[in-house]
Point group: C2
Chain length 143, copies 2
């Protein structure tokens, strides 16, 4: 069925705003000599978990990675010494990911740029209710 104008408008706004802001952030990270935003997702997920480590497929689901894409990103993270990929004892197919000391330091350095960038862009909305309303609407789109 055809979308209404309001539906279409939201989709366009969602797309453009995400794209514009993501680009700006990613390129600022690069300017600062830091890795892409996507690395941050993995590092932060591994750092904040209470568990001993996470499985690749868990991160894949949470952060919407393409499986092959994550697989290769992990290879890069391992090469850089930011993450360890270990065999998962309970399942011969599986791996466990753990962030390294170096990985924690890198995540922190990235956050020092990323955090303020989030504030810079999202901070254009000063009304807390408006922020929360928008979040809740967007979340509802994909539940």
């Amino acid at each position: 069925m055809e979308p209404t104008d309001e539906e279409t408008n939201l989709w366009i706004a969602l797309n453009k705003s995400q794209r514009a802001i993501y680009r700006a952030m990613d390129s600022e990270l690069k300017v600062q000599g830091l890795p892409p935003l996507r690395w941050y997702d993995v590092l932060w997920e591994l750092e904040r978990t209470k568990r001993k480590g996470l499985r690749p497929f868990e991160i894949e689901k949470t952060h919407l990675f393409e499986q092959s894409n994550l697989s290769r990103l992990l290879q890069r993270l391992v090469e850089e010494g930011l993450v360890d990929v270990l065999d998962f004892p309970d399942d011969g197919r599986g791996k466990v990911l753990k962030i390294t000391k170096k990985g924690r330091r890198m995540r922190k350095r990235m956050w020092a740029v990323y955090g303020p960038l989030i504030h810079k862009f999202m901070g254009r909305i000063t009304d807390v209710d408006e922020l929360n309303n928008a979040s809740s609407t967007l979340k509802r789109l994909i539940d």
Copy 2:
């Protein structure tokens, strides 16, 4: 400066929702044997303009294309006969883009899939005010 939790939540929601929905849409188009969503942006922009044609840099700005990326996308569109790229008489460096008959047909075919997909996802929000509020908040992020 550090972002507030509400700011961070919005950024995460914005990212995830856009990514999830865009992926789903793009992959549905592919399943239907149609070109990627990005092609639609160009075709539609060229079809809806009142002017005789558009310049590549205009589309680049409106739809946030990387210059080289758009340049190559245009080559593909030309190869497929969907768009004509002509020299722009008033500026020896410039080009003018015009959609072809075939391009219009393709855009229409794509819309037959894309439109309902927009409705499918955005239609999860049934309250028109909520749709409008979210659009307005998102637009404000990048003004």
